[in-house]
């Protein structure tokens, strides 16, 4: 078995569903579900509050399925911005997914184009982070990869969409001062902390935070792209410096 591809028929669907890695992928995502749901709820409320009708908001949540891009597009749509500006903003906010897609490639390249598109479409931020933590090596444990992927994706999708729909329906009842968006920030914080390890990762996180704040005035959320670029550079510099230091140290000790 060369790994289970996109579950196209009932037998494959059942095999994926029953695979222990599917459960594990789902379980890892369940611990994040509260944060995902809080953010979905906020996005659902925002869609209606910025003037979308309930059917349009439902269309948006099920079709677009990208919270940060939706939140960036909504005020522009409400302000009557030209369509291309809305699209440009969403594309900029989604640029991080372009970077992630390069990292997905070695895992998905063996599938045909249509399946690769489906796999790409459903891969949210947290799916990416959790999957790469479980399978750092694309060649390793290939049959486990797809069930784990779908377990995480299914959980993420259900948590996000059910909360988003709830937000759309209850938009005018939920008081904004509950600050539910903060729960979403905390979920991201937890995931971020789980990625902190070697010194270079701490430096990268610090540089990204500072750059994102410093470049906040840039339009179209480009500060996120600036922050990623700065952090990647900082991480590489740290890695190189640490390696050089270790080499020098070793030579020094050996002499």
């Amino acid at each position: 078995m060369g790994g289970i591809p996109f579950p196209m028929n009932i037998a494959l669907l059942r095999a994926t569903w029953r695979h222990p890695e599917f459960r594990l992928g789902a379980r890892h995502m369940v611990s994040l579900a509260l944060g995902i749901a809080a953010w979905g709820l906020v996005t659902g409320v925002a869609m209606v509050k910025t003037g979308l009708s309930v059917p349009l908001a439902l269309f948006m949540t099920f079709f677009v399925f990208a919270g940060s891009a939706q939140l960036a597009a909504l005020p522009l749509m409400a302000a009557g911005a030209p369509m291309w500006v809305v699209w440009a903003a969403a594309t900029c906010v989604n640029l991080r997914f372009v970077i992630f897609s390069a990292m997905w490639r070695p895992y998905f390249a063996r599938f045909p184009l249509r399946q690769r598109c489906v796999l790409g479409y459903f891969s949210g931020d947290l799916n990416y982070v959790m999957f790469m933590k479980r399978f750092p090596d694309p060649e390793h444990r290939v049959p486990d990869q797809m069930p784990y992927y779908w377990g995480g994706v299914a959980t993420n999708w259900v948590a996000w969409q059910s909360a988003s729909v709830l937000g759309i329906l209850l938009a005018n009842v939920i008081p904004p001062e509950w600050g539910l968006g903060f729960a979403g920030v905390l979920a991201l914080l937890g995931v971020m902390c789980s990625l902190l390890g070697e010194r270079a990762t701490w430096v990268a996180a610090g540089v990204a935070s500072a750059a994102a704040v410093a470049a906040y005035a840039l339009p179209l959320k480009l500060n996120i792209v600036v922050a990623i670029a700065a952090a990647v550079a900082a991480g590489l510099v740290m890695e190189t410096a640490e390696r050089a230091w270790k080499r020098a140290h070793r030579t020094g000790a050996g002499a």
Binding site: G80, A102, C117, L195, A204, A205, V232
Partner: protein
């Protein structure tokens, strides 16, 4: 924006989700990526998360906050401490909210 314009805009946004998330999955031929880029991109997800979190916690209306009386700061510190104590994300969210909500709702921070 008319309803049809809104529908078209949203349809375009859906297409953008598809295209950005599968961007490097689209070509059939093998892509060669230099080792330096591969190593560097390891930091991208971490950076993206930090870049989303920092302005959400440290800024109000596009300005860096100048007061320590901000419920978000205390929520963030408590949540981070809990994470490194227990390494559990659900508990991290609950701890952060348990500190954040009373400060916000009762003290108005």
């Amino acid at each position: 924006m008319s309803t049809w314009e809104a529908i078209l805009t949203i349809a375009g946004l859906g297409l953008i989700t598809l295209l950005t998330r599968s961007f490097f999955l689209l070509p059939e031929r093998e892509l060669h990526m230099p080792g330096l880029i591969k190593r560097g991109l390891k930091y991208a997800p971490l950076a993206a998360l930090a870049a989303v979190i920092a302005p959400e916690v440290l800024m109000t209306h596009g300005e860096l906050i100048v007061t320590w009386r901000d419920a978000r700061i205390f929520g963030l510190v408590a949540a981070t401490a809990y994470y490194f104590w227990r390494r559990d994300i659900l508990g991290t969210i609950l701890t952060g909210m348990a500190i954040y909500l009373p400060l916000r709702l009762v003290l108005g921070w």
